[in-house]
């Protein structure tokens, strides 16, 4: 499959954030978004996910015969972790696995916990987690169900070195399996991306 962005314009609060942005991303390719704060990295990810309409231009997918939206094929991990502190680590994952339509919830949870070795924390309340642990738990959602597009907004923030490596391994294996990856970063992620867009330039 291919994800095509065609002449995307983005406005926020009446201000033009970027305009005329186009790219094509094929199976197994990664796109890195860099640029200063406010250059529109997060906005672009949200637009791709369908959390907002571009001021101009279109996103499209080819090579798929069902009519799911791009967002429904995507994992989107934003700054906020979407965790409930009153639920246990495992319950958090179980809910999202069910919500995203996993056919085998238990297997999904196992994969999710395995991603960052969180198995030993499964039964603890998510409210007890440190920030880094909570971030890892949020990223564990990526493994709950297989979705071809990963949209990651500053995924490595708050992670220690070992976790960053595990994340990089997960991203590489996702692309090896033919998945698409779009990520933003300030710090570098330890993954070789096919393309890079510096968002500061377009503004």
């Amino acid at each position: 499959m291919r994800l095509i962005a065609d002449k995307i314009d983005c406005e926020r609060g009446g201000r033009r954030v970027f305009s005329d942005l186009s790219f094509t991303l094929g199976s197994g390719e990664g796109l890195l978004l860099t640029g200063a704060n406010g250059s529109g990295k997060t906005s672009l990810l949200r637009l791709i996910a369908g959390l907002g309409d571009p001021a101009g231009g279109t996103f499209s997918i080819d090579g798929m015969d069902d009519d799911l939206a791009i967002g429904q094929r995507s994992h989107y991990v934003a700054h906020r972790n979407a965790l409930k502190t009153a639920l246990s680590v495992e319950e958090n994952l179980a809910f999202w696995a069910k919500f995203m339509g996993a056919s085998d919830v238990a297997a999904g949870i196992e994969r999710g916990l395995g991603l960052f070795n969180l198995d030993h924390l499964a039964s603890y309340s998510a409210g007890l987690l440190s920030q880094g642990q909570a971030r890892r738990l949020a990223l564990s959602r990526l493994e709950l169900v297989a979705r071809p597009i990963w949209l990651l907004d500053e995924p490595s923030v708050g992670l220690d070195e070992a976790s960053c490596k595990q994340l990089a391994a997960a991203m590489n294996s996702h692309m090896d399996k033919g998945g698409l990856l779009i990520a933003t970063t300030h710090t570098g992620l330890g993954v070789s991306f096919t393309k890079t867009i510096d968002m500061s330039e377009g503004a």
């Binding site: 603890y124 409210g127 007890l128 987690l129 440190s130």
Partner: protein, 239 residues
Amino acid sequence: MQKYANPTRFYALSGKVLPWLAAATLLAFAVGLYLALVKAPQDYQQGETVRIMFVHVPAAWMAMFCYSTIALASAIGLVWRHPLADVAAKCAAPIGASFTFLALVTGSLWGKPMWGTWWVWDARLTSVFVLFLLYLGYMAIWQAIEEPLRAARVAAIVALVGFVNVPIIKFSVDWWNSLHQPASVLRMDGPAIHMDLLAPLLVMGLAYTLLFFTLHLIAIRSEITRRRIRVIELAEVQG
């Protein structure tokens, strides 16, 4: 005082006291209920229903007593910043609320034969009802704030504000009631009450007080344990 206020020492000491306290509670209830249900004479007007009084009146006493305990413990917690005082205040609330609820329900049961309806807005019942609401509000604070230290501060201030307000509420409700119905149907305070009724009432009062102390100790011990578990869990999770 400071010596016994250490949670660990308190835990050990209360463990020794608890069985004796529980036994004393049972004994007091046995004697009290015997006096109240068997020995005490029927009332010439109310008949057997007067016996509800022996369950109802001590419950109403305890409703006030528990709230005073909370206020006292809160004041100690605020001034000396002692965690055990905070825990004591927190743990007294559900017990006090239960006594208050018992007072309301038994009052209503008593009201049926007395007034012909389950509920009458008489001054005493209304005041107890407002007290019940104060309990609910106090307990809601503990539930709403996760961080125990902050919850303790806020809850203590709320308890003290409530405590200062109780007499004012009581006074205004009495005044409101006198406006609508001059004299209360039931009068049982003062020396008018007969000795045969007073003795069982006092024993029941003692039994209720002992029950409160027993339950309170158990509740404090479980709260201390709960907090320790949380600390251990935190240490385990975050390494």
